[in-house]
């Protein structure tokens, strides 16, 4: 999931590796390390300052309630069933999780942009590159959860601020 998020953020899932290595598999450990080193080398140096917004948004997404609840409830929902008694299969659940991941990430990116002073939709679009309609839609979501508020109009343009 973290890999997928890094891909969405543009940092690249080649930078994050997960491998199972048993204590007797020394050769395999070497292979895993060489493989990881090669793919990270191919991606080049990582500059945290260039990805300041993305890292902040990833941090908020991973530590946020929504994601943590979904991941925590996955086992129960896919084995015993959800609150309506429907049992979900793992693929459908993972599809929904991916959609939520992307949405939460975009919302947090918008939140970070507004916090840093990009207070109208066009400004946010210029900074983070998301679709205008999508930004408006997700801003409404952020208003509902009281993270962002609509502070008024400036030259007939709506202006937002973080709460």
């Amino acid at each position: 999931m973290t890999q997928k998020l890094f891909d969405i953020a543009g940092i690249g899932k080649e930078r994050v590796h997960l491998a199972w290595v048993s204590s007797a598999e020394a050769q395999r450990f070497v292979e895993v390390v060489v493989n990881a080193t090669e793919s990270v080398k191919a991606m080049g140096k990582f500059d945290p300052k260039a990805f300041e917004y993305e890292l902040a948004a990833v941090e908020m997404t991973l530590s946020g309630e929504t994601l943590r609840w979904m991941v925590g409830k996955e086992v129960k929902i896919t084995t015993k069933g959800d609150v309506y008694g429907r049992k979900w299969d793992v693929e459908s659940f993972e599809t929904i999780l991916d959609a939520v991941l992307e949405r939460e990430y975009q919302k947090n990116l918008i939140y970070k942009a507004v916090k840093e002073g990009h207070t109208c939709v066009r400004d946010i679009h210029d900074k983070i590159g998301l679709d205008l309609k999508r930004i408006s839609y997700l801003l409404a979501d952020l208003e509902k959860t009281n993270k962002v508020e609509f502070t008024g109009m400036k030259d007939r343009i709506p202006v937002f601020a973080v709460l």
């Binding site: 994050v16 290595v21 390390v33 990881a36 080193t37 991606m43 990833v58």
Partner: protein
Amino acid sequence: MAEFEPKIVAFLCNWCAYAGADLAGVSRLQYPSSIRTVRVMCSGRVDPMFVLEAFKDGSDGVLVAG
């Protein structure tokens, strides 16, 4: 200019991957030194936030092995 040497933070589970790395060391197997190991008692201990902190502090890659 010297070739780019990445810094990869590796979270290794004490019982499996760390022991595997130990065995690789004892058997004198060569592997790249760009790996900086962190021993954890179980790879399940590794929270996604650890991965993020590694990147924020300037690492180029993260490996979680269990």
